[in-house]
């Protein structure tokens, strides 16, 4: 009996002990759990903040604002001589300049990025710079050079396991081959880009692959497949709120409808596309759509008048800013 009582007391004691130990551990976790976060030095933190701000504007298509933030990031990274951030800022400034068709400036930034990267030896940055230089060559209609640069960027991206860059460069090469009427090659590259895009979930790349495949199908007169691919691209771009992408896919859908001689449907797509380009201040692209509308008017009688569209072709002033960025 005495033993029973003793055992009971001992078990209570153990419980109390465990309870106390638990309390102590909770206290220990609370006092140390938060752990001091490894804080970045203030200037580097500012560089990252500016760079991330620039990325936000870049994705929104607000290139003037993105440029401002990337410039400030570059200046700030110079102050602390942070090579990685300097290369990144030059690459980003190159991309922003390219997007604005400032080719000389883009070339300078991208070359500088490659030059500094010799010290950094970052495969990621090299691949991005090469890819962007390829875009520069493509825009300057130096297609052979563009192909070489994109192939080089592709190899580096593959070596470094950069799936997103891989998909982008495959899309670029596919687009180039499609332009050169090497449709089979283009299709293979684009299909590969599509597979990677589906795995990485990069909406922009995925929509581009679908759109390019749609264009290839249209050229091959496979209108059903073309419609399927372009509808998918439009759906993805809308989901990602990619205004520029939406406008481009609408243009392609319009061209597909024209080939199908569905003039009213073509007109409706071009109408939406031209208005989007006008909002974005892309007058050259808007002029291109106006040409499509003229064809539509000549062949299908729709629209009756092009006056309202001609009014959209006023070139934006120096300080013009898209309503999307205001």
């Amino acid at each position: 009996m005495f033993n029973d009582a003793s055992r009971k007391a001992s078990s209570t004691g153990i419980k109390i002990f465990l309870l106390g130990l638990g309390g102590f551990l909770i206290l220990l976790v609370i006092s140390c759990g938060g752990g001091r976060k490894s804080q970045l030095p203030p200037r580097l933190a500012e560089v990252r903040r500016l760079s991330s701000e620039g990325s936000y504007w870049f994705r929104q298509g607000c290139f003037t604002k993105a440029e401002r933030s990337f410039y400030r990031a570059l200046e700030a990274s110079r102050l602390v001589d942070n090579l990685a951030e300097m290369v990144r800022a030059h690459n980003n400034l190159g991309a922003v300049a390219l997007a604005q068709d400032h080719f000389v400036e883009a070339g300078e930034h991208l070359q500088k990025a490659l030059e500094l990267n010799k010290l950094l030896q970052s495969g990621n940055e090299e691949s991005v710079a090469m890819g962007n230089l390829g875009v520069l060559a493509y825009k300057a209609e130096r297609y052979e050079e563009a192909e070489q640069l994109w192939e080089r960027a592709l190899v580096i991206a593959e070596e470094n396991g950069q799936k997103s860059a891989l998909a982008t460069n495959l899309n670029h090469l596919g687009m180039l081959k499609r332009k050169q009427d090497r449709l089979k090659e283009a299709e293979l590259l684009l299909q590969r880009a599509l597979d990677i895009g589906e795995r990485t979930g990069s909406k922009s790349s995925l929509a581009n692959s679908h759109m390019q495949l749609g264009v290839v199908a249209r050229i091959q007169a496979d209108f059903t497949r073309a419609e399927k691919q372009l509808t998918k691209a439009l759906e993805i771009d809308k989901g990602a709120e990619n205004t520029s992408g939406i406008a481009q896919v609408l243009e392609e859908i319009g061209l597909l409808r024209q080939e199908q001689q569905q003039w009213e449907m073509a007109y409706l797509s071009f109408d939406r596309a031209i208005n989007l380009y006008a909002i974005m201040g892309k007058t050259a692209k808007a002029s291109q759509i106006l040409e499509h509308l003229k064809t539509n008017q000549d062949k299908g009688g729709i629209p009756e008048s092009l006056k309202q569209y001609e009014a959209l072709l006023v070139s934006p002033g120096e300080y013009w800013e898209s309503p999307l960025c205001r």
Binding site: I16, G20, R48, R49, S52, V135, T168, N171
Partner: protein, 306 residues
């Protein structure tokens, strides 16, 4: 004889020991944060009033926390005698020409004592010594300093003068008033003009007509003369008015120079809020929930064909 402990007793002992350890640990952690284990030096200051200071109010040296108020008591001559304790490391910086003032935070918080360290020429105040003080300004003193009353009085005077002048004009007094108000004068001038007109038109008018016209011209000239006589007085009044306006302008300019000071205070307030936010971010419960710091990335421009 060796004592034998049962398991229960051992457990209880261990538990008490553990509790004691936890208590000591907590005391150590809290005490370290609150500077309990650091050496302090006591000083005294005396103010005309307590200014809401309480035991525990912060004591700052050049805006930096260096201690706290220990006790606020009323002295025999009805002054607030404040006992403060300052970290021993900073005590030598408090010198005989140091000045303690009570300051209020701009946005949030409570009153604190701010000590201006003074110059190194003056000797340090010994422990338990008295720190010279400067009284906190009251709202009325600020009003006096900025001569708000005088400014308002001047504006009142100007308005009064303006009212008087417009009243005089309105009542038809003075030359200007008469010119504005007097139908009689208007009539007279009109008559005179008629008379002159008639005089010019008909030189054959009778002597009576000439005499009457002459008399009216004479009467008119009296009014003109009177108006001319009052003109310098009017000019003087306008001049005086202008002088007062210039004085008001000067006062306004002086007031405008104080705007930067107000802006500095506001900025200081924002800085304090920022510091509070930074402290909140350091809290162990909040810290893990803060969003991660932004990362930079490189962008490849993806084109879809031109």
């Amino acid at each position: 004889m060796r004592l034998q402990y049962s398991t229960m007793e051992r457990m209880t002992g261990a538990f008490i020991l553990l509790t004691l350890l936890i208590f000591l640990f907590t005391v150590a952690v809290v005490g370290r944060g609150k500077n309990w284990f650091r050496k302090h030096v006591v000083f005294y200051t005396t103010f005309e009033e307590g200014y809401n200071l309480v035991s525990g109010s912060r004591v700052k040296l050049l805006g930096t926390d260096v201690g706290s108020v220990v006790e606020v008591a009323l002295s025999e001559n009805n002054q607030a005698r404040v006992k403060i304790r300052v970290l021993a490391d900073y005590a030598p910086r408090i010198r005989t020409n140091s000045v303690a003032t009570v300051e209020s935070p701009t946005v949030i918080g409570s009153e604190y004592i701010n000590i201006n360290p003074g110059t190194t020429i003056a000797p340090p105040i010994p422990p338990e010594g008295e720190i010279p003080t400067k009284e906190k300004k009251k709202l009325m003193e600020y009003l006096e300093e900025y001569e708000v009353g005088e400014k308002l009085e001047n504006i009142g005077k100007i308005l009064e003068d303006l009212a008087q002048i417009t009243g005089t004009v309105g009542a038809g007094e003075g030359s200007l008033g008469r010119l504005v108000k007097s139908d009689e004068l208007y009539q007279q001038i009109s008559d005179e003009l008629d008379a002159i007109g008639r005089f010019v038109a008909t030189l054959q008018e009778t002597a009576d007509h000439l005499a009457r016209a002459g008399a009216k011209i004479e009467e008119g000239s009296i009014h003109v003369e009177k108006a001319t006589r009052e003109a310098p007085e009017m000019v003087d009044k306008v001049q005086e008015l202008l002088d007062r306006l210039l004085r008001v302008n000067a006062l306004m300019e002086k007031a405008m120079t104080e705007v930067p000071e107000i802006s500095t205070q506001a900025r200081e307030g924002m800085r304090e809020v920022n510091l509070i936010l930074e402290s909140v971010k350091e809290n162990f419960l909040i810290r893990p929930n803060l969003p991660p710091s932004p990362e930079s990335e490189s962008h490849g421009l993806e084109i879809r064909g031109e």
